[in-house]
Amino acid sequence: MNNTGENTIPLSLRLLLMVLLTVMAVGLAYAVLSLPAQAPGLSVYAVENINISGVSNPVTAVLLNYRAYDTFLELGVLLLALLGVWSLGCAGCQHQSSPGPVLDSLSRLLVPILIMVSGYLLWAGAHAPGGAFQAGSVLGAAGVLLLLAGWRIHAGLAGLPLRIALVLGVAVFALVGAVLILPGGQLLAFPPAYAGGLILLFETVATLSIAISLTALFLGADPDEEDAS
């Protein structure tokens, strides 16, 4: 690897950049410090409506009920990133790792624990810090650990079943959102009576999709194409 190009930039230019960035930082600091010291923001509304949101943790209520739209689109972003990675083909990233005995036995020990922690975080999200994103990240970490230990998805599951699991989150959001429009409601506006159950459904499918997307992003290439080539 040649040098990083850092040395090709003359000192005078770097000093100029530092001065400019310092000016920017001072301006940003002034903007931050001139904000009011007390600003409840939207927390008042979030707490007022917590009883009809279906959960008691306000962050989960925001993510899966008040602004479920954000979570829906965020799952779409994750899917788009994965499509981008797959479309690049990833020529140079088919590394065959040979795990040592430590990684091999540690992954056997850790993966079941990670799956359990993920399930707990998913369930705890209703009333405590936790939820689909945290549970999905932990489950994705378990998948990355398995990949590092040399595990690969079964060839029979790499095609359609993998794709169904990847789009499950977006698909369930879109389907339930569309069904909720039919009786005259709005997109993803949950009836309070069903809100708790719907949020648990959304969180479960979102956890699975997030975890599998993150694992697939780590792998790089589409495992189905990898087998074919």
């Binding site: 931050v32 009011p36 600003a39 923001g41 979030a46 707490v47 954000d70 020529a91 140079g92 992003l217």
Partner: protein
């Protein structure tokens, strides 16, 4: 009270440091890391400013935005790394061809 603004200022400092590294370094991996540090700074500012509630629990809306943002940042980083690997396999080096500063060399 003031510790909230301390956290916000630290986040702002991380953003500025990341921006400096993003401009200075030509290697794409360093640029990707710099963008991640900038993002972490923004998350820190958001989480810190969400705590400006009088004694009550912090504003959950910025927290939810940060949780969403972290997952988006991770997926964007993965896409950027895949792009970097592709650039390296095409050109043999993990830098962009464009050299706007080359005229300063001579």
């Amino acid at each position: 009270m003031s510790y909230i603004f301390l956290y916000a200022l630290v986040g702002m400092g991380l953003f500025t440091l990341g921006l400096y590294a993003l401009i200075i370094h030509a290697h794409l991996l360093r640029k990707i890391l710099a963008i991640n540090i900038m993002g972490s700074g923004v998350f820190l500012v958001l989480v810190a400013l969400a705590a400006r509630t009088e004694g009550a629990a912090p504003d959950p809306v910025p927290h939810a935005m940060v949780i969403t943002g972290i997952v988006v940042a991770v997926s964007a980083t993965a896409l950027a790394l895949a792009l970097m690997l592709r650039v390296r396999s095409e050109t043999g080096r993990a830098e962009l061809d464009e050299e706007p500063l080359s005229k300063f060399d001579d």
